[in-house]
């Protein structure tokens, strides 16, 4: 397995497909940067599918928010993927306040590197390149599978995925999937596939009060802005993507039980349904209900972690 031969194992890379139109997606971003701060994972690439330019800018803003130290270039941080479709899908109003927020001086509150479509990346390329950036990776599919499916047909990609992608976690938040694409994924994906059903995120709700309390260290926090904007506070949002992200990085946390292998049926309308058995190998996540409070506490702690200076990582030599 590719890793530092000197013993220092690199954190696992996370490839995050998101529509960035629900608070759980924003929280998932925060959680993933929380993991990154603890060097338990690193952001391989983010790909926004099913939303517009502002969603991509929001992802970029959050990434820059957590970035400490000098501006990194595309050798270490990939731009955010976004399909160039005309017209673009609508953005969730959730992302706008953070994107548009200004300081007292009238400058943007949050720095960003994306301003226009050409600052974003080709989705299937960035998904693939994100995997290539990491010795080991996980893929979280919280958005239509269109571009992840496309990436499978690129040269050598199935081999690379097979070698490096430890697991694919498909999130079902009730949103519609791209039926043909998700079927292709289910048929061709070369490594273990997990299904994070709607009931998982619904069972694990993020406490509204903690948004105020645990993020208070930041004067301005884009994820908090998004949470507040999604619907009138207070509300406890489901944590679909965040739960999937946690499992993707820490499958052995004990937070989730796994079903027997089964399959996902995809309706022509893109609705997904998991059923056990049937020869397929997908496993479905189930919340350990006894752990519910502990899980939620862990989610809060993770999502509200402060930015951390990245460690310089270099190869030793004789």
């Amino acid at each position: 397995m590719p890793q530092n031969p000197f013993g220092g194992k690199q954190p696992i890379g996370v490839i995050y497909n998101t529509s960035m139109n629900r608070p759980d997606a924003a929280l998932a971003l925060a959680g993933l940067y929380g993991f990154e701060g603890k060097r338990e994972s690193r952001m391989g690439s983010i790909c926004v599918v099913g939303a517009g330019l502002n969603a991509a800018i929001f992802c970029d803003v959050v990434g820059r928010f957590y970035m400490v130290g000098p501006l990194r270039n595309a050798n270490s941080v990939l731009p955010v993927g976004l399909p160039a479709v005309d017209p673009p899908p609508p953005d969730s109003p959730m992302v706008l306040p953070a994107v548009e927020r200004k300081t007292e001086k009238g400058e943007p509150q949050y720095t960003r590197s994306i301003r226009k479509l050409t600052d974003t990346a080709v989705p299937e390329a960035v998904l693939r390149n994100g995997v290539i950036f990491n010795a080991e990776a996980v893929v979280i599919l919280g958005a239509p599978a269109t571009y992840l499916a496309k990436s499978l047909d690129l040269l050598g990609v199935k081999d690379i995925y097979k070698e490096r992608v430890k697991r694919l976690v498909i999130v079902d938040s009730g949103a519609r999937q791209d039926a043909a694409a998700i079927r292709k994924i289910l048929a061709e994906w070369p490594t273990p596939v997990f299904y994070c059903g709607k009931e998982v995120g619904d069972a694990l709700r993020f406490p509204a009060a903690r948004i105020d309390k645990d993020f208070a260290w930041a004067e301005a926090h884009p994820v908090v802005d998004a949470y507040r904007a999604y619907q009138p506070m207070p509300y406890d949002a489901p944590t679909h993507d965040l739960a999937a992200a946690h499992f993707a990085v820490h499958p052995d946390s004990g937070f989730f039980r796994l079903s027997d292998p089964g399959s996902i049926a995809v309706g022509d309308d893109g609705a997904m349904k998991f059923t056990s058995g049937g020869g397929a190998k997908v496993r479905s996540l189930m919340v350990e209900s006894a752990q519910q409070d502990k899980i939620i506490e862990a989610f809060v702690e993770l999502a509200s972690a402060k930015p951390v200076q990245p460690q310089r990582f270099r190869k030793p030599a004789l």
Partner: protein
């Protein structure tokens, strides 16, 4: 070895090297194209100019998308030909990046540029890359011309010792790869380039020449027989080596056969060059003039030219730059060094512009050679100081036979593989492989439509 059916006045071609003379005499060459890929037209030629050590992009990228206005500093020499070029922004060569492997950006930048695959890190054993875009085209269509492809280099001397952090020099010195394991070393000696194009035995009576060709073919036949016998006794790696050899022998045999069919020897009408011109601009002109002749006479349709090896340390005293190019690109923001790097970049582009003008002034039917070509000028590095492999400097010149609408700046989405451009180019000449390196598709927006 016939290049053209028409006789040319002796010693005319290339006589005026140094001056942008437009090579009008070339109009006398009317090659009988072995095919016609395009209805009623001449074939489309593809060329790649590889510039080493990246570019100072702040003085390269035009500020606006769309029609090219005032060109930024480094591109300024292209002002006279700006109607003939596209500036393409944001293309990426992902496999040049350090990824998990770390240093070795120069070796990787070149090796990954036209192959679009991972560069297997080795200082020697198990060299492994992929087929470069020019060779995908040449492997499919090379049989139509005397030479399937032409690889030219403008750096004679080589660095001794290790090349780049555990990457074999084969990666840093060769942009064209015929197979995963076989680089095609560029020809950098003018005389050798001349002889590759026109043969060594230029003036010989037709009958004598035919007799010689027959002997050559019989020698090559025999060698092929020997090799096959020998191979049966060898291990896998050795067999692969001999396979490479055999493939090359076969190609030369085809070349000889073609020459036999074509009849008499020809007089390319130029004096055989000797030695490398001491001034870089003259060297550049001499080699690209020969490349132009090769295109015009349909000796080949696909060519790559390396302006320098990746990591080139060439100094350019001709323009007052006495420090090495590569050390200068690690400028760390030092203004004097940046300035010198820009001078080097601008010199390269001035010479490239000159070449484009000559191509434009070379008639071909109702059109001209430039309009019949697609010529890339690019590098596998953008910022040479910190070795970035995205937002690469890329120019596409020519119209590829009424395919491209030049004169514009097109900005693509980030991470768009530069291989998408190459895939589009080779598709234009009628080659549609399943994959071109890490291409994700064709490059939109180039065409007239």
């Amino acid at each position: 070895m016939i290049v053209t059916r028409k006789a040319l006045a002796r010693r005319t071609i290339l006589k005026g090297i140094g001056a942008a003379i437009g090579l009008p005499f070339l109009d006398a060459m009317t090659p009988a194209f072995a095919d016609s890929q395009l209805s009623g037209g001449a074939p489309v030629r593809l060329a790649w100019f590889y510039a080493p050590n990246g570019i100072d992009m702040r003085h390269w990228t035009p500020s606006e998308e769309g029609p090219l206005g005032q060109l930024p500093g480094i591109l300024a020499p292209l002002e006279p030909v700006k109607k003939e070029i596209l500036v393409l922004s944001n293309l990426t060569a992902n496999w040049g990046r350090p990824l998990l492997v770390g240093a070795g950006d120069h070796g990787r930048a070149l090796a990954a540029y036209m192959t679009g695959v991972q560069v297997y890190r080795t200082a020697g054993a198990d060299l492994k890359l992929g087929v470069s875009a020019d060779q995908i085209a040449a492997n499919a269509l090379g049989h139509l011309t005397k030479l399937p492809s032409l690889e030219v280099g403008l750096e004679e001397t080589r660095q001794a010792g290790n090349c780049d952090n555990g990457y074999s020099c084969a990666y840093a010195y060769n942009v064209s790869w015929k197979t995963e394991t076989q680089p095609l070393p560029p020809i950098s000696d003018p005389r050798n380039l001349f002889e590759r194009l026109f043969g060594t035995d230029i003036v010989e009576a037709p009958a004598a020449h035919a007799r010689r060709l027959a002997m050559r073919r019989s020698i090559l036949d025999q060698v092929m027989g020997d090799t096959q016998k020998l191979q049966s006794k060898l291990g896998r790696t050795d067999r692969r080596k001999l396979d490479e050899y055999l493939t090359s022998v076969r190609e030369i045999e085809q070349q000889v056969e073609r020459a036999e069919k074509d009849g008499a020897t020809i007089d390319p009408g130029m004096e055989k060059p000797f030695g490398v011109p001491p001034e870089f601009p003259d060297y550049f002109r001499l080699m690209t003039d020969m490349m132009l002749v090769a295109f015009k006479a349909d000796i080949t349709r696909f060519s790559t030219i390396m302006i320098g090896r990746e990591g080139s340390t060439r100094a350019y005293p001709e323009i007052g730059v006495t420090d090495g190019h590569h050390p200068l690109t690690h400028h760390m923001g030092n203004m004097q060094m940046l300035d010198k790097v820009r001078q080097i970049n601008a010199l390269h582009l001035a010479l490239f512009a000159e070449f484009l003008r000559k191509m434009k002034n070379t008639k071909e039917g109702d059109s001209n050679l430039l309009d019949q070509s697609l010529i890339v000028y690019g590098s596998g590095l953008s910022d040479g100081n910190v070795h970035t492999h995205d937002q690469l400097p890329t120019i596409l010149a020519g119209r590829g036979g009424d395919f491209v609408r030049p004169g514009r700046h097109i900005v693509y989405q980030r991470e768009t593989p530069v291989a998408n451009l190459f895939a589009t180019m080779i598709e234009r000449v009628g080659v549609r492989p399943e994959h071109v390196g890490d291409a994700t598709g064709r490059l939109a927006g180039l065409s007239v439509s």
